[in-house]
Amino acid sequence: MSTVAEPTYRKRVGYQSSLLGGFSTLAAALLMLGYNSTYEPIAQRQADDLLESLSQVLPDSLHDNNLLDNAIIIDDSNGKPLTIYRAMKEQHTTGFAYRATAQGYAGEIDLMLGVRPDGELIGVRVLAHAETPGLGDKIEKQKSNWILGFNGRSLSNTSEGEWHVKKDGGRFDQFSGATITPRGVVKAIHDGLMFFKQHREELAVMTENEAKK
């Protein structure tokens, strides 16, 4: 037991600072080693995750390319770069997928949108959210079929006034006890389609150029 008095050299500032320095160096070295050996597996897992969320809105029947290969980056309305993933089958573009962010009740909701070249939604999925379990989490496909209600919708077959929840005069259901969450999601999907409409020609030119190569 350490009932023996501490040796005096341990009271010296030099000893204590080199002790702290030594432990910091050791910790830094260990962290470096850990980071280096986990860097690649983590990057691989994250690519797998991305591919999985992409394949939910761009089903396998729509493409024969690797979805991560033919990505395009354009600036969104806020000037932030947005990666648009492209599904291609026999050299033709069959769909696009990109992220959108909705303002929910408890922070941001990450969405993945899948859109046909003509602007019709293939599907929407929620990637991450922090909504109230039991109320706002019905936006997840695992919890409810609500999110499937957007399949096949586009700006042309659903008028501007219909892009709201029913409570606001639109055509999408809200949940009992949670209106803010679906309202945010509907708005984000609508904005996402507007973004697509604005950049549609740009995207078409880009894909055409590539086909010519």
Binding site: S2, K11, T132
Partner: protein, 229 residues
């Protein structure tokens, strides 16, 4: 001095349980225990960190001077937690998706620094690791009990998603106790965590008191018996 391992086991699991007796580590407790599975995962990760930090602190206890011990302990714990976080992300990715948010929270678990300070820094490596294991298991037990109670009351299931945590062979653990249950939201929300914890703490007090009463009753009986003869 010999080490009383039975004492360590009893302290960790019951007498000096991190949650039920020391009422420490309530932040991670309330944050993750919306299901029993989450509680189990968080508990096991914490146990692992407790054992490693106990081992490291005990191994270096002879060279760490009293004045700078706290920063050194914090550094050791933070390094271990970061390494655990990175390796789980790399090799147990599905579990990391469920618990990822909470792993860095282990650093803020005051019980780990508490054990380093009050036990590992004064004892050899083996008892320190044992203490870490037992304290960790006690914490896991508390997390699972609170999680299971909240899950059953809140959503009518038990060990939902256990498959994600433990692998396919544990799918049998996933029970739906109350079919077509409409849910009782408050149990899953943070206030429900406080309520359940409060009732459990009260329950343990009552149990301890009864055990104590029975022990003293049998002692009295023995004395009475001795006098009669």
């Amino acid at each position: 001095m010999t080490t009383d391992y039975r004492r360590i086991v009893r302290d960790g699991l019951w007498d000096n349980n991190i949650v039920f007796s020391q009422t420490l580590a309530l932040c991670p407790l309330l944050a993750v225990t919306s299901t029993a599975t989450n509680g189990l995962g968080m508990g096991l990760a914490t146990t692992f960190v407790l054992m490693l930090s106990g081992l490291t602190v005990a191994a270096f206890r002879k060279i760490i001077s009293a004045e700078v011990r706290i920063p050194v302990f914090v550094l050791i714990i933070a390094t271990i937690v970061t390494l655990v976080d990175m390796s789980m992300n790399a090799w147990m990715h599905d579990l990391h998706k469920v618990l990822g948010l909470f792993i860095p929270l282990i650093v803020t678990n005051c019980a780990i620094l508490g054990r380093a300070e009050s036990y590992a820094s004064k004892n050899p490596a083996l008892p320190a690791v044992t203490d870490g294991l037992m304290m960790g298991l006690g914490f896991t037990l508390a997390l699972v009990i609170v999680g299971a109670t909240r899950e059953v009351i809140g959503s009518g299931t038990l060990f939902a998603n256990a498959e994600l945590l433990l692998g396919k062979s544990f799918a049998f653990l996933e029970l739906t106790l109350i079919p077509h249950y409409r849910g009782f939201l408050v149990a899953i929300l943070p206030p429900g965590g406080f309520l359940v914890l409060g009732f459990l703490l009260a329950g343990k007090r009552i149990l301890d008191k009864q055990l104590e009463a029975r022990r003293s009753a049998s002692r009295l009986a023995r004395i009475a018996g001795a006098e009669a003869t």
